[in-house]
Amino acid sequence: MKKSYKFILAGVVFACVIGWLLMSSFSQDSVYYLEVHEITKNPDKYNQKGMRVTGNVVKGTITQDYKKQYLLFTIQDIQGEPDTIQVEYNGIIPDTFKEDIHVIVEGKYDKEKKLFNAETVLTKCPSKYEAELEQKAS
């Protein structure tokens, strides 16, 4: 019997360690995972908070400077809402970045300037051509 206590104790210690690791890491490293309309509807709540937002790059809104590695564009809600936010980014512009594609931006939102400061811009692309085919055919 004594040995089975040892196992239970080990299990409890293990669970605590995992729990503690998760909690401490979440509190420091987690960011909000939002849609564009959630920010525009509630700018106070998310002001200057770390977040990751998915959106569609609006046509005709891209300003880019390859030399200075600067990018300014607007993304629109992907769930069909009309809401948009402007995104500013300094860094290497991803190869696949262009108009009318899905991007995932990570960074902070500034409600005063109504501007999203992106630290990373991820373009979602590989093997995703579906829907496009019909457009090309017409």
Binding site: I92, K124, K128
Partner: protein, 638 residues
């Protein structure tokens, strides 16, 4: 042509259902002739699957763009070999490929187990038949590669340039092989439960399947990293992307499975663990596909959202429930009996701990990956975690795993004596202290990489000590006679090499972004890089623009690298093609980030990744170890 492919698919579906039904009947009645008929039908399913695949490959190769799938992933100018790789490049095709592999494995198993007990083998094969048929349901009803358009496009969309890399030819197939093999393992685990057999026979019987599948999974994951490294051009190989994690999770649990199974085989312990790990590994492989295909998580790899996810979820839940039902039915026979003989300070004890470490790692990575979904269900806001989270939560587990992998080979199977231990561990501990001291003296200050290097060195020396003492005792022939044990040690050696590579390249890499005029030089990481005039080059389906960069060290010219940007005909945007000079002590990695002829500038991102080559070398060593161990015979105690 689409109809023909569909016809074969439906034939495969019908035979799949028939075979499954017959196997289930044979499971109940032990009727040999029913099982025999089911075998023939399963072979028939493989034929139908293969013919359907041939139709798809033929359509891809000849550019039959009326089939939507062909039009989506290929075009006229695509090199032939990539046209063929279209089989697994897209969603529908890759599911067909996966199902086909399950059918192939099932037929191999039909022949391999032909003399086994009818009830047992019927159970194993029923699991395979169910799985292969599940994939056909998907490719017929949810995402059909043979769907035809109502017009014939003049040309296809072409393959994404990022996929036009040799990686496309070998990464997905190896990864799929690394997933599919667990269908056989889990089939045997279930057959043992269904037959109320609590012995380790099922594990021993599938050991080779499991190891070889594990080897493929290892290669698949590392090749994926290598591909990202050479093709995606951010200078790294692992970004904790949901899809990458999805392939790592079954690797972690199946690594635990291999360890747990050894204790099961030798000591008749950890039975529930081993069964559960077989189930979890199999389900995580499907779960990985669910993650990629359902669109529930945003990832660079994700396919478009579709209803596929529900099918996967249903399959995972139902099959797990059945498995668990039979597991609980015989739980008393599976429980470990003689716990009092168990000591943590034995090799078995270490294996037991390793189970927990691997499972813990699986849980924290799994929770991080699923965070957007989990938090969406229980919290008012959806929350996600990034790279820092994964690095932080996984680091302690990696430390523990390295430590356990160093301690285990030096311990016997029984409880160890303290005096012996001190003698055995002295060299490893000394080496660990020396490694830490060396790093500190040379001015390294970050605690985590120092700690990790220390434990890696501990593990390395422990492996060497174990080999040397055994060879001294029994001569070189022990290395050949006990291939299972030394295969395992070789794998650990590979892990250690990889660990050094990962630690060095993640903590001590160097990065610089510069924009210079052609002809100018800049200093980077001990090198002088001179950027030359831009040049262009026309190829089959793209135009490449590159900047020759001449590399000098201490005034001596070493080489010229040519980072490039490619413009593919079907894509408006450019794709960076990096230039890498790979050496054992580190890689010099150059990206042509930007350029302009009119403004006369070239933007280069330079990265130095120390010891990264050891990640790939370590993987090769792991594969060698796995294969060497797989050739080993039955139970032999080291």
């Amino acid at each position: 042509m689409g109809q023909l492919g569909n016809l074969f698919q439906i034939l495969g579906l019908v035979s799949g259902f028939a075979a499954f039904g017959m196997y289930v009947y044979a499971m109940q009645t032990q009727n040999k002739s029913t099982a025999k008929t089911a075998d023939m039908i399963m072979i028939g399913q493989l034929v139908a699957f293969s013919l359907a695949s041939c139709v798809l490959i033929y359509a891809l190769a000849t550019g039959y763009f009326k089939m939507e799938y062909v039009a989506q992933y290929t075009d006229l100018k695509l090199p032939f070999i990539y046209k063929i790789s279209g089989w697994w490049a897209g969603q529908a095709g890759s599911l067909l490929f996966w199902g086909w592999l399950v059918a192939v494995f099932a037929v191999i198993e039909i022949f391999r187990t032909r003399n086994y007990d009818t009830k047992y083998r019927s159970t194993v094969l029923a699991v395979s038949a169910l799985t292969s048929t599940f994939f056909l349901i998907l490719t017929i009803f949810v995402t059909n590669p043979f769907k035809e358009l109502d017009f014939f496009p003049a040309d296809g969309m072409g393959m994404n340039p990022l996929l036009q890399n040799p990686g496309m030819l070998y990464h997905p197939p190896t990864l799929f092989l690394g997933y599919v093999g667990y269908t056989i393992t889990v089939g045997h685990a279930f057959a043992a439960l269904f037959n109320r057999d609590s012995s380790s026979n099922w594990f021993v019987d599938t050991r080779k399947w499991t190891i070889i599948t594990w080897v493929f999974l290892t290669i698949g994951i590392v090749l994926g990293g290598e591909w990202a490294y050479v093709e995606l051009g951010w200078g790294g190989y692992w970004a904790w992307d949901p899809v990458e994690n999805a392939s790592l999770l079954p690797w972690l649990t199946s690594t635990a499975l291999l360890h747990s199974g050894m204790v099961f085989e030798r000591r008749n312990k950890l039975k529930i663990w081993t069964h559960m790990l077989a189930l979890i590994s199999f389900q995580l492989c499907l779960f990985g596909t669910f993650i990629t295909r359902s669109g529930v998580l945003d990832s660079v790899h994700s396919f478009a959202k579709s209803s596929l996810g529900y099918f996967f979820l249903a399959f995972i839940v139902i099959t797990s429930a059945v498995f668990l039902y039979y597991l609980f039915k015989m739980i008393d026979e599976l429980k470990d009996k003689d716990e009092h003989q168990f000591s943590f300070l034995s090799r078995d004890g270490m294996f037991f701990l390793a189970n927990w470490f691997f499972l813990g790692l699986t849980i924290v990575i799994g929770i991080g990956t699923m965070m957007p979904i989990i938090s969406g269900l229980i919290l008012p806001d959806k929350i996600t975690v990034g790279i820092p989270y994964f690095n932080k939560v996984s680091a302690p587990f990696f430390v523990l795993i390295l430590l356990a992998s160093g301690i285990a080979p030096l311990l016997g199977h029984g409880k160890a004596e303290t005096k012996d231990l001190v003698k055995k561990f002295a060299p490893s501990v000394l080496a660990m202290i020396a490694a830490v001291a060396a790093l500190v003296v040379t001015g390294h200050t970050q605690p985590l990489p120092i700690l990790l290097t220390g434990f890696t060195t501990f593990s390395l020396v422990a492996i060497l000590v174990s080999v040397i003492t055994n060879v001294k005792k029994g001569g070189v022939k022990v290395l050949v006679n006990n291939r299972r044990y030394y295969g395992g040690l070789i794998i650990h050696l590979g892990v250690v090499m990889m660990a050094y590579g990962i630690i060095a390249s993640s903590f001590y890499n160097d990065k610089k972004d510069v924009t210079v005029a052609p002809g100018e030089s800049f200093e980077f990481s001990g090198y002088t890089l001179k950027v030359g005039e831009l040049a262009a080059e026309e190829r089959a389906n793209y135009v490449g623009v590159y900047a020759p960069v001449t590399v000098f060290k201490n005034g001596k010219e070493l080489m010229t690298l040519a980072p490039e940007r490619r413009f593919y005909e079907k894509n408006e945007q450019a794709f960076a093609e990096v230039a890498i000079s790979s050496k054992l002590h580190g890689d010099l990695y150059l990206i042509l980030a930007s350029y302009s002829k009119t403004e006369n500038f070239v933007g280069i991102q330079a990265v130095f990744q120390p010891f990264i080559a050891w990640v790939w070398i370590g993987c090769i060593v792991m594969v060698i170890g796995g294969l060497y161990g797989a050739t080993g015979g039955k139970k032999k105690n080291a």
